[in-house]
């Protein structure tokens, strides 16, 4: 049992239990659509053109940005389009995608680049590079490039492998661990080698007994501990996981790496193992397909870029109107259709039967929300100030520390979508800060202009003054000279007239 714990959180049963967790490999899709935009950073730039033939594992887009990873072709075939598609994102914005039509051969490019021998014969830098060119990013949903994250945590003392499965209903990590327990353990060893941490903890929730058994069976490294945790929602959040495992509270605004800990999702560890040891770039992932409208929940190992429709053709879906969502019931997002494709951070697709939405009531400040908030906020106060658009006050009540886990909305007796309010307030706050910065900039510019005009005026005045003085001096000098000349002339004249009078005389 764990020594430490965080406050709040929710014990939630898996709404879509699976009897036998299995990772099903599905046939190659006919077509894949690969987005160029990743979680953060700039859009990758395609380096292939329409009509070009590409091989599986070939890099098709790249960008020189430490926050992004290159994109690989997940099947072999022909590039048929490079155009804009709507992304599976809350914003509903469009972005550039590369569409590849399969030739059904799955022909691989030669991926044996970089560290091709045993990884222990390579330097950490070579391995970082290998991870980068293999396109490995955080598979738990964050999508942050692994090479950057590991490099930031260099010199850490502990490596935590997050195998908690972030939300109820998602079982893709459990499926992955049961299918490839050795890859998990070996992957952890690779990570330990490059980040040089003394020990690794694999954190796994107690509802995944089969996965725990599998890992324990293959783990014979004494630096790796398998830590079984009670199943509780939001335990998978990095900072909360750190608190429950090590008792360390990462300060606001800091990261796990600042306290000497590297946290990696178990899916990422497996992907990294594939890249470093087996020379396979990230071209597929495990996805859970579940929901109240799905007859039997399943986990699929699917090529990136395959459409949701393709994925859903392998499960039985009940008739009726459906609610489609991805990345979970609590923190995931609702989608308008199944016309999207699997990306590196798609961990699940849920198809639920459409339920009548319950009417929202007024907040009665019952305070149930603050008992479940894992970061000890007062959601009722945040709601009060968010509703009245009193953003400064909401920020004073630590709005920015909200991790948007939705525990508060889940228990709210008045069914208020609390987190929506917080997200809105956060956006307003960002806007406010930006505007403030802009006004500040404008003020600075204005003040500098005033200063400059003032200085010009002063300089001109000084110059004029100097000129005046110079002129005066010159005039005085001229006058003096004139006087001298006149005096000389006088003398000459006097002399002349004296001579004249002498001559006359």
């Amino acid at each position: 049992m764990l020594k430490y714990k965080y406050n709040g959180g929710l014990k939630l049963d898996n709404p879509y239990p699976i009897n036998e967790i299995d990772l099903i490999r599905i046939p190659l899709p006919d077509k894949v659509v690969l987005p160029m935009q990743q979680r953060i950073g700039n859009q990758a730039i395609p380096i292939v053109s329409v009509g070009e033939r590409v091989l599986t594992g070939q890099i098709i887009a790249t960008i020189d940005d430490q926050r992004c990873a290159p994109v690989h072709a997940s099947i072999s075939g022909t590039v048929v389009a490079i155009d804009e598609h709507v992304y599976a994102h809350k914003s509903g914005l469009k972005g550039l995608c590369v569409t590849i039509e399969s030739d059904g051969k799955d022909e691989w490019v030669d991926t044996s680049i970089g560290c091709t021998e045993h990884y222990e014969n390579c330097t950490a830098n070579t391995i970082y590079n290998k991870i980068r060119v293999s396109g490995i990013v955080g598979m738990g949903g964050a999508g942050f490039p692994t090479h950057t994250k590991v490099r930031l945590a260099e010199g850490c003392h502990t490596l935590i492998v997050n195998a908690t499965e972030c939300e109820p209903g998602i079982t893709c990590d459990a499926a992955l661990m049961e299918a490839y327990p050795t890859k998990v353990i070996r992957g952890v060893e690779v990570l330990l080698y490059i980040c040089k941490a003394e020990r690794a903890i694999v954190a796994i929730e107690d509802d995944k007994q089969d996965a725990i058994k599998a890992l324990k069976k293959f783990c014979n490294n004494e630096n790796i501990t398998i830590e079984v945790m009670p199943t509780k929602y939001t335990s998978g959040a990095e900072k909360l996981l750190l608190k429950s495992l090590l008792g360390i509270e990462v300060p606001t605004g800091k990261f796990a790496s600042d306290v000497g800990v590297l946290c990696q999702n178990v899916g990422t560890v497996v992907a990294m193992f594939d890249a470093v040891v087996e020379n396979r770039p990230l071209i597929s992932r495990a996805v859970t397909v579940a929901g109240s409208a799905v007859k039997e929940s399943k986990n699929f190992q699917v090529r990136l870029g395959a459409s949701y429709d393709y994925l859903l053709s392998f499960v039985d879906i009940k008739e009726g109107s459906h609610k489609i969502s991805m990345n979970g019931l609590m923190m995931g997002i609702e989608l308008d259709s199944t016309n999207y494709s699997v990306s590196k951070n798609t961990n699940c697709v849920f198809i639920d039967q459409l339920e009548e939405s319950k009417p929202t009531k007024e907040c009665i400040r019952c305070g149930l929300c603050n008992t479940v908030c894992p970061v000890d906020l007062l959601p009722q106060e945040l709601y009060w100030y968010s509703k009245s658009k009193n953003i400064d006050k909401a920020v004073e009540y630590n709005l920015l520390d909200c991790i948007e886990c939705n525990c508060c909305s889940y228990v709210c007796p008045s069914q208020i979508p609390l987190v929506n309010y917080y997200q809105h307030s956060k956006a307003l706050y960002k806007q406010q800060v930006k505007e403030k910065q802009q006004t500040e900039n404008a003020r600075e510019r204005f003040e500098f202009r005033e200063l400059r005009l003032e200085r010009n005026k002063r300089e001109r005045a000084e110059m004029m003054e100097a000129k005046k003085i110079a002129l005066k001096e010159k005039m005085a000098k001229d006058k003096a000279q004139k006087a001298v000349i006149e005096a000389a002339l006088e003398r000459v004249n006097t002399a002349k007239s004296a001579q004249g009078s002498q001559d006359d005389g």
């Binding site: 509270e249 300060p251 007024e362 009665i364 603050n370 906020l377 007796p413």
Partner: protein, 314 residues
């Protein structure tokens, strides 16, 4: 935590149900007049709320069925003497709904406990009608006659134990000589206590306010009792007389007007408990729950601000 989650309407209904035992005890000792008061209160409350919602141009049905106005009406109805004339409760409930709740924007926005605001209004305006409790069990016909002013109230009323204590003490009689044990008050308080325990078990209310409130009553009354046991009643007397249990479990726990942070609730409840005893002992009115609760309602923003829990990572 795995608890069946209730919605707001269900919470309001559960609180109303939990009052049943206390109301039962009141009916047992005072007669069915209690029901007449509750009936009048609910009708008045619903009509006033509907009218006011209409004036405000908001939807009537969801607010009417949320149960909050009925709960306010019941709380006020069982707080006033069961033989008070009909216009007392009608006036009180209208005042509570309009000035205690709707004027601030309806449910969730009121800084004061509406029922207690109505009670304080009535007590200040009509002290005579508000302090005449039935001396004995009244039959239905007697009750109807009294409430609707068809017969004279004289001879039917008596003082409550708190009232009795106050008047006797001013006459220089020491506590030991007084016969203070009021069996009706005891059972009514036990009824509300049991209802409150039900709410605690259902996790509809948090333990902090009732526990700290009762503690506040005990601490303050014990302190006074230790100073002079002839002049001041014991804590047990204060616990089972007047509206102590009703206040601890049903009135101070009104979430809208109470403190909302865990440690804030402790302070809030404790201070109400202290104030209840102080106002009872030194104030001009026999019972003090309404004033104590209203005074602490004012301090809620301050308490909440200074009792924010430590945020993760700060």
């Amino acid at each position: 935590m795995t608890v069946k989650l209730l919605n707001t309407n269900q919470i309001m209904r559960q609180v109303s149900y939990a009052l049943a035992l206390g109301i039962g005890a009141q009916v047992y000792f005072f007669g069915l007049s209690v029901f007449i008061q509750i009936f009048l209160a609910c009708i008045t409350g619903l009509i006033t709320e509907a009218l006011f919602l209409r004036l405000r141009g908001s939807e009537i049905k969801p607010a009417i069925i949320d149960g909050s106005v009925v709960l306010t009406a019941i709380l006020l109805a069982i707080s006033i003497p069961s033989i008070a004339p009909w216009w007392i409760i009608v006036l009180g409930v209208s005042f509570a709904v309009i000035f205690g709740k709707q004027i601030f924007g309806g449910l969730g926005n009121n800084p004061f406990n509406p029922a207690m605001l109505g009670y304080a209004f009535l007590l200040i305006s009509y002290p005579m009608q508000m302090t005449q409790w039935p001396a004995d069990y009244l039959s239905m016909s007697q009750a109807v006659d009294v409430i609707f002013g068809l017969s004279n109230i004289d001879g039917l009323t008596g003082a409550t134990s708190l009232d009795h204590l106050k008047t006797q003490l001013t006459m220089g009689i020491s506590i030991q000589e007084l016969e203070l044990n009021s069996i009706s008050q005891l059972w009514i308080n036990i009824g509300f206590l049991l209802g409150g325990i039900y709410l605690l078990l259902r996790r509809i209310i948090f333990w902090q306010i009732p526990v700290s409130l009762l503690l506040g009553v005990v601490v303050m009354s014990t302190a006074l009792f230790l100073v002079d046991s002839d002049q001041f009643a014991s804590s047990l007397f204060h616990l089972v007389n007047g509206a102590t249990m009703l206040a601890a479990f049903f009135i101070a726990t009104d979430p809208v007007s109470a403190s909302t942070t865990p440690s804030g609730r402790l302070i809030y409840g404790f201070l109400i408990g202290i104030l209840i005893v102080i106002i009872r002992v030194f104030g001009g009115y026999p019972d003090a729950v309404a004033f104590a609760v209203l005074l602490l309602n004012i301090t809620v923003p301050l308490i909440d601000f200074y009792t924010q829990p430590k945020v993760f990572g700060k």
